[in-house]
């Protein structure tokens, strides 16, 4: 049975097409980079694969089931149990402490407060940010926030981790440290990773690379798009 796949996925924002029929297979346990220039639809593809967006046409299947046909609440449950999501920035709840942010998915799953906190602390420890456990995001550095977000994405031990430009807001060294941790933890737990990035250096962390161009998978070999000189954004 296939693990996670997209079949002819089409999605538009208003009248602007973002995806024009993307077919893609994600194998269990692999780290897949989705690259391409800005506006090629790579974030939209990630949102469709993760069940955040419903495609206008085409299918998204997870272990043989068409999740694009599932209800919002069913996809919500899938996202907080089997999937983990990591964005560029701004995903932590400003009012909650680091530990509470990390514990949130567990609490939603019905885990007790004490048990959830213990698990959250373990993950913060593992990512080297245990010292900010009781601080709100406003008191943390960008790297600490992103590690905390990574801990939140991994605390439910998801099958797939979706990361959308996870180091886009970080400096080079911090970004590489966070990515190194991400890759090591994913391999340790056999978590599949879908990594969206426009930087070849970041894409090199993956086992395999798929390039999008104008809303379709680029198979010309021209794909592998490097960014403009000067790096991120």
């Amino acid at each position: 049975m296939s693990f996670l796949q997209a079949r002819g996925v089409v999605r538009a924002y208003g009248r602007t097409p973002a995806l024009r029929g993307v077919t893609l297979d994600v194998a269990e346990g692999e780290i897949l980079a989705v690259t391409g220039p800005s506006g090629c639809g790579k974030s939209t593809l990630l949102h469709c694969l993760a069940g955040i967006l419903r495609p206008d046409a085409g299918q998204v299947t997870w272990r043989g089931e068409r999740i694009d046909e599932w209800s919002e609440s069913a996809r919500s449950r899938l996202r907080r149990t089997e999937f983990g999501v990591l964005f560029q920035f701004g995903q932590l709840v400003a009012e909650l402490t680091a530990a509470e942010n990390v514990a949130l998915p567990l609490l939603l799953a019905g885990t007790g407060r004490r048990e959830a906190r213990t698990a959250a602390l373990t993950w913060l420890e593992r990512l080297g940010v245990a010292e900010v456990a009781d601080a709100p995001p406003g008191e943390m550095s960008g790297g600490q926030q992103q590690r905390c977000a990574l801990a939140r994405a991994l605390v439910t031990e998801p099958r797939v981790l979706f990361a959308d430009e996870p180091t886009g807001a970080l400096d080079t060294l911090t970004g590489e440290q966070v990515l190194t941790q991400l890759v090591r933890l994913a391999r340790e737990q056999r978590t599949t990773v879908v990594l969206v990035t426009h930087e070849p250096r970041i894409a090199a962390y993956a086992d395999r690379e798929v390039t999008l161009r104008d809303g379709t998978v680029d198979r010309s070999g021209l794909g592998l798009d490097a960014p403009l000189p000067g790096g991120h954004r």
Binding site: P200, A204, L224, A226, P227
Partner: protein, 183 residues
Amino acid sequence: MNSDAVSTQHVLLGLLARGPRHGYELKRAHDERLPRARPLAFGQVYATLARLERDGLVVPAGQAREGGPDRTSYALTGEGRAALDRWLATVEPPMPYVASTLFAKVVVALMVADVERARGYLIAQRRAHTERLRELTAVKTAPAAGLDDVIAADFAIAHLDADLRWLHTTLERVADWHREVHS
């Protein structure tokens, strides 16, 4: 005279600055100090020493015969020391050594071949670069990676990344460039 030869001359001048040595000693010291550089051939050492002697930068300082062939040791002249100081004080123009072959190949490909062939070469080269980038990144993320590995990988990754950016931009520009060259 290429830049490689220039730097060999100055490296030898630098090694002689610590006292007179003969050719064999110079070769050994060179390979020891610059471990990742291409090893120096004996012929190259003697040829360079002869050129330095001709220019008055070094002088023969004595002969030693220790159960083998003649060994002439050389010493730095005042002029040689001045030349070494000048070299050390000069800022190197930032020239990418690795990319030079790459660059030349692309230009030549555009001159003698058609656009498609040039693109084909660029794409293949970029794939090779990407493969190497991924290998080196894997070295870095391996749980057992030590600081030495990470620093060495970082150095290579930074250069590969620069090449990749250049390859990418060039691919985008190839069509225009080709038209310009053939007009």
